[in-house]
């Protein structure tokens, strides 16, 4: 059932408007999701998140959406925008080049309500790969220096440390689309981030962890994860470099 409404009474300077289709679904009451349509005006700089918030402010405050920083740093507002996983705060309506903008909850994540999804599995798999430095001498004595790294050593992993755990890579991954047990590109890229860190000594335990039937081998280098990453992490690269260790191409 579609509902059409517009924010006509709101004073606006914009002459352009789009139809914003928002997926509505409450697992407690609904059998299936449905779309509600809203006519929203926009400027060149208006983001999809701002459009959703305008709907919440002026028409239907019950639309559920998770957001926080509004500057692609917290990783909260990931959703399917016109069929592709994107951050709503990082996607301008003008760049979508469409009169209709459809927003749906992120694929491959269980829905809490409307556009808000559960992140438990992502955090579980992230936790599983031990996202911290592993070494015997973790505690530094007071008279010792911190662990020093050369710029080249930092370069090996810093790209992967940009991950904001937004989950877009997992939403785009073709394996995640059918495999409920797959570790996922987010966790695998983070495994590489720590394995490539010269301060870390936990390579063997991490490699052992991902070397199982729903581990790293279920990645087939389709690269969709890297195409949607809003922070330039390039999980596909990290996963292939990580697999290089298991195949003996890297030591």
């Amino acid at each position: 059932m579609a509902q059409v409404s517009s924010v006509a009474d709101k004073q606006t300077t914009s002459s352009k408007s789009i139809t914003l289709r928002i997926s509505r679904y409450n697992p407690e009451y609904d059998d299936a999701s449905r779309f509600m349509e809203f006519n929203v005006s926009y400027e060149k700089w208006t983001t999809v998140l701002e459009a959703i918030l305008e709907v919440k402010q002026y028409f239907d405050h019950s639309v559920a959406v998770r957001y926080s920083c509004r500057q692609a740093t917290c990783g909260s507002c990931g959703m399917m925008i016109n069929g592709k996983p994107r951050l709503a705060c990082f996607t301008k309506i003008s760049e979508l080049d469409s009169n209709v903008v459809t927003v749906e909850p992120m694929s491959n994540f269980p829905i809490i309500r409307d556009l808000a999804v559960k992140f438990e599995r992502l955090f579980d798999t992230h936790h599983k790969i031990k996202p911290y430095l592993i070494r015997d001498d973790t505690e530094i004595e007071s008279d010792e220096k911190e662990f020093l790294q050369s710029p080249e050593e930092v370069e090996q992993y810093i790209q992967f440390a940009n991950c904001i755990k937004c989950g877009l890579c997992n939403a785009a991954c073709p394996t995640m689309a059918t495999d409920s047990s797959f570790v996922g590109p987010q966790a695998l890229a983070q495994a590489y981030r720590y394995v490539a860190d010269s301060r870390d000594k936990g390579k063997d335990s991490r490699l052992k962890m991902i070397d199982e039937s729903h581990g790293i081998w279920r990645c087939h280098f389709a690269g969709s994860c890297s195409q949607v990453c809003p922070k330039g992490v390039d999980p596909a690269m990290g996963i292939q470099l990580l697999r290089g260790y298991l195949l003996g191409f890297r030591s």
Binding site: T178, D179, S180, F182, D211, S213, H214, W217, R218, L246
Partner: protein, 114 residues
Amino acid sequence: MRESTIMKIHYGTALAAVALVAVHILMRLTMNFAESLEYETVLANYKFIPYALMLELILILLSVHGFNGLRVILLELKQGRTYEKAVSYGCLAAMVGLIAYGSRTIIMVNMGMV
């Protein structure tokens, strides 16, 4: 067996099969294609031991590679302990079955039991 070992076998069988299948196809093209499929020619191929050995190798390599590929696809489609065990053992059984069936043909023709 560890998944990395299985996948190393998967890559190894692929590379070896590419080389041997290329020889197998080129053998069809050394003469007229229809002529190469005539009964006497095929029989002679099977009776030539190096060629028969190559056919046996191709049979093993492609069976291992093919059924492991099928296992991977099926494991990614659906999950569950029973299902995954059924897929793994089912693919293994199919692989062994196909190798046995193909080997029977190669051995029988090679030994002149036709």
